[in-house]
Amino acid sequence: MVKGDAPGAFLAGMAGTPASLSGGPVNRAALLRESSVAVESASALLGYYSHLASMRACKAARRREGPAATHPLEAELRLDAAKALASAREMAGAALRSARHLKAAGQLDAVLDAWQTGLEASGSVRVEDLWHALEQDAAMRQGLRERGVSDELWAEIGRQVGSLEGRVFLRDGRSAAEVRLAGQTAWTTAVFASSQRGMPASVAELLRRGEFERLVGLFEAGQPLPFGAAGAGVSLEPVDLADLILAGSLLSVESVAQHKRKLEDTGLATYAGSEVGVVLFIAGLVAIAIGMLTVGLFCPGGEHETLCTAGKVLVFLGGLAFIVAGGFFAAGGVRELLIISMMGLKLDLGLLGIKTD
């Protein structure tokens, strides 16, 4: 899977990273189950967005016939959008559960360590080359195919994640990326950090620790989240990989929710607008989901080095897709996600239940 010197050195460096020693065992059956949910949901979602594109064209074509001409179609589409939102929630839930499990098992930190080791070996690497290397990895493609990742889904991931451009490099000893979608003018930069260990270094760090697990638990339990879904997450500050997955997962769901709400409240637009970002989110999420599955299945034990490395790259590219997709939505930092619970003020259940008498 080597393509060019830098990516080759990077991938070789990653492959040489020792397996995680700090975490617990990986539940492969659970990961397979979650991956299956994620893949199925992603296929449904991408199918919906494909249908949506044809609906837009249909509406545009019938515009002269008046609004009534497309009302039945839009009513049907609203039902489909509700299903799409449910799929997005399932997909995000699967990704988040997988991330929580892999984080507890030390595998997410191992992924980050591997990136860093790879970059130390290679120097800066082009993002486009990383995807190209994955595309040519027949073993990985076959392994994913056997686990339900259809050629159509893989092609869609390729269309989205493959359209990222930029570079991965080290900044102050940490993995960093400068990335954009092909055709965009602005670059987005992110610096990655391992999950916190030892005594927190600041009060903010102290208060933020453990929030990932708590928020995933809230999402799983179907409770309103205290931040009302994330603002778009583009932060120059070091970002924990688990936090990025959390932000990206929730923003993926929010982007589908936003589309659904527009359908309900203002009708189907005849242009796609920010849906470019939605599809990128979905592709990023499914890339991370199957990347984490690959990591979970093949990294522990160190027996399938190539597949393990490919999984780490896929997780990384999925993370970059999140970062770029975030730029299509409201501004705000990933860090916003984790703030509101700091004071123990449980606003998440809604303001309207206040009773003073």
Binding site: G228, R261, I339, G344, G350, L351, K355
Partner: protein
């Protein structure tokens, strides 16, 4: 006080399933190019008019002239004479001819006029009084009840607290009565259930209704707008010519005399020249001062009124735009119907407000109601069980939070859970200081080191504006935050200066429209009794 409203909201959830998807009220019809639209049902307009007339002492207009037989037209004299008794003279009861004009009713808002418009730059000086309508003004037909009475003063008697409705001596006295009843005026309708104004009462005495008729007034309106983001539609009674009518020959004869017209002119004189609010007094920024509004540097405020109809009758819509001369399409002609449609949904009040208005207003109110006192709270934290341990457990941190007085961002975000409405997200800053820390074993860590350095972090709130609490859940907010939020958000739910007793507040937020829709009903006296609550307004600005 506002908590009553919020708890009421909890009882009447604003479900999008009920609100947004009513096929008769497509959401796309609501904004029609405006930044805010207020809609009032006929019932609410009637209520506002009655209250404002009563507060101005204009709900009951009356005039009396002492009985002089030679002044009265023949039929009136004939009707009165049998009721003037020797007993009255012995008791010192003085008889008068009285006219009472009362029971103002809004008959119709629809007139063949263009919608009126008023505009004022919000950042204009505080002393600015707004501008009058440049186009022909709307004319509202107001109907009144006219009563011609024989009025007798009460003799001195021990019970001075008799109700005006007390028939008193002479009640039910036989003989040639027209109308036949005393005190036909239903005063109960005029008892205020909201507001602080006086409760006008006619002079004490006994009344014999001799004849009844009607008074019709074609009253022009003014759309008043003020620099503090306040506006309303007011009836301008200046120069109004009442039209009196009756089927009763006695009253017909009376109206044809100089005596009659003079007495009526005297009765309605206090009203003529007055301006009386017909619509609620809309205050987009709540009780923000002129200086606070000016600091927003908003574009000029334009308000237009239009009347639309729904199943409940005529609906007054006050449509607001910031900046542009005119937002949506406002006509009342059948050929080109207005894009504004009723979204009252069988309520008395409906309010659409876009982010262009509520965003700056919330920012100003955030600053005006800033939490200057810090919030101190104990929160669980995850931390190592020992100094060099990889194992973590749950410790406890006592933190002090100072919330900034600047609101940096506001937006309605799409809800990621279809069971809930779209949350309002507000972003400010907070300065967090760790005061004390206990490790997972309960031991206090006295040397906080770097942890003791205050941190400035985003302060993010995500508020479900219209969702009820899940069953069994109980919301507990820090008192400081609760007070702050209530002050912050009140104009979103109740953008009025008046004190209304309201019920069944509902609504929804839309991230797609970037707006809120709020609806509510007025409480009725029966609601008050049922709830065991004191009568009077439950809401107060300020």
């Amino acid at each position: 006080m506002l908590s009553h409203v919020f708890s009421d909201l909890a009882g009447f959830p604003g479900s999008r399933a009920d609100e947004a998807f009513d096929p008769s009220i497509p959401l796309s019809a609501i904004p029609a190019g405006y930044d805010a639209i207020l809609q009032c049902s006929p019932h609410l307009l009637q209520h506002v008019l009655s209250v404002n007339l009563a507060q101005a002492g204009l709900a009951i207009l009356s005039a009396r002239v002492p009985f002089h037989a030679d002044l009265l037209p023949p039929k009136l004299l004939a009707a009165i004479t049998p009721h003037l008794t020797v007993t009255d003279q012995l008791l010192g009861r003085e008889a008068s001819v009285e006219v009472i004009v009362s029971g103002a009713q809004v008959l119709t808002l629809r007139s063949n006029v263009e919608p009126s418009e008023s505009s004022v730059p919000p950042h204009a000086g505080a002393g600015s009084t707004g501008s009058r309508a440049p186009r022909p003004r709307r004319v509202v037909d107001i109907g009144w009840t006219l009563q011609l009475n024989l009025f007798k003063t009460e003799p001195a008697r021990p019970d001075r607290n008799a109700l005006p409705g007390d028939p008193g001596p002479g009640a039910g006295s036989p003989g040639g009565l027209r109308g036949g009843l005393l005190n036909d005026i239903d005063l109960s309708e005029l008892v205020l259930t909201t507001g602080d104004g006086p409760n006008p009462a006619p002079p004490a005495g006994s009344r014999l209704a001799l004849a009844t008729g009607t008074v019709l007034m074609h009253v022009p309106t003014d759309l008043e707008a003020f620099p503090v983001l306040q506006f309303w539609l007011a009836l301008d009674f200046d120069g109004v010519s009442p039209v009196y009518a009756s089927d009763d020959p006695l009253l017909v004869e009376f109206l044809g005399t100089g005596f009659g017209t003079g007495l009526l002119a005297q009765a309605v004189a206090p009203l003529l020249g007055q301006s009386v609010r017909l619509s609620p007094a809309v205050a987009l920024g709540g009780n923000l001062s002129a200086a606070q509004v000016a600091s927003l540097a908003l574009p000029p405020l334009h308000v237009q009124d239009v009347v639309v109809t729904d199943d409940g009758g005529e609906v007054l819509a006050l449509c607001v735009t910031l900046g542009g001369e005119q937002g949506g399409v406002l006509t009342e002609s059948a050929a080109a119907p207005s894009l504004v449609r009723s979204f009252l949904n069988k309520r008395h009040f409906a309010w659409y407000e876009s982010e262009r208005i509520f965003g700056p207003v919330l920012a100003a109110r955030w600053r005006a109601n800033a939490m200057h006192a810090p919030i101190v709270s104990d929160v669980p934290v995850e931390m190592p069980v020992g100094e060099d341990s990889e194992e973590t457990g749950q410790g406890l941190a006592r933190i002090q939070v100072h919330v900034s007085d600047a609101l940096k961002e506001w937006s309605v975000r799409p809800s990621i859970d279809p069971r809930f409405g779209d949350p309002l997200r507000l972003i400010s800053e907070q300065t967090i200081r760790l005061l004390r820390l206990w490790d997972p074993n309960g031991h206090e860590i006295h040397d906080l080191g770097e942890l003791g350095v205050p941190a400035v972090e985003p302060f993010v709130m995500s508020l479900q504006m219209f969702d009820p609490l899940p069953p069994g859940a109980q919301q507990v907010l820090h008192p400081l935050l609760e007070t702050f939020l209530l002050a912050l958000l009140k104009p979103v739910y109740l953008p009025c200066l008046e004190r209304f007793a309201v019920k069944q507040i509902s609504g929804f937020s839309s991230s797609a429209l970037r707006a809120f829709v709020v609806r509510w009903n007025l409480k009725t006296p029966r609601d008050e009794v049922t709830a065991g609550l004191p009568t009077g307004g439950v809401l107060a600005n300020g």
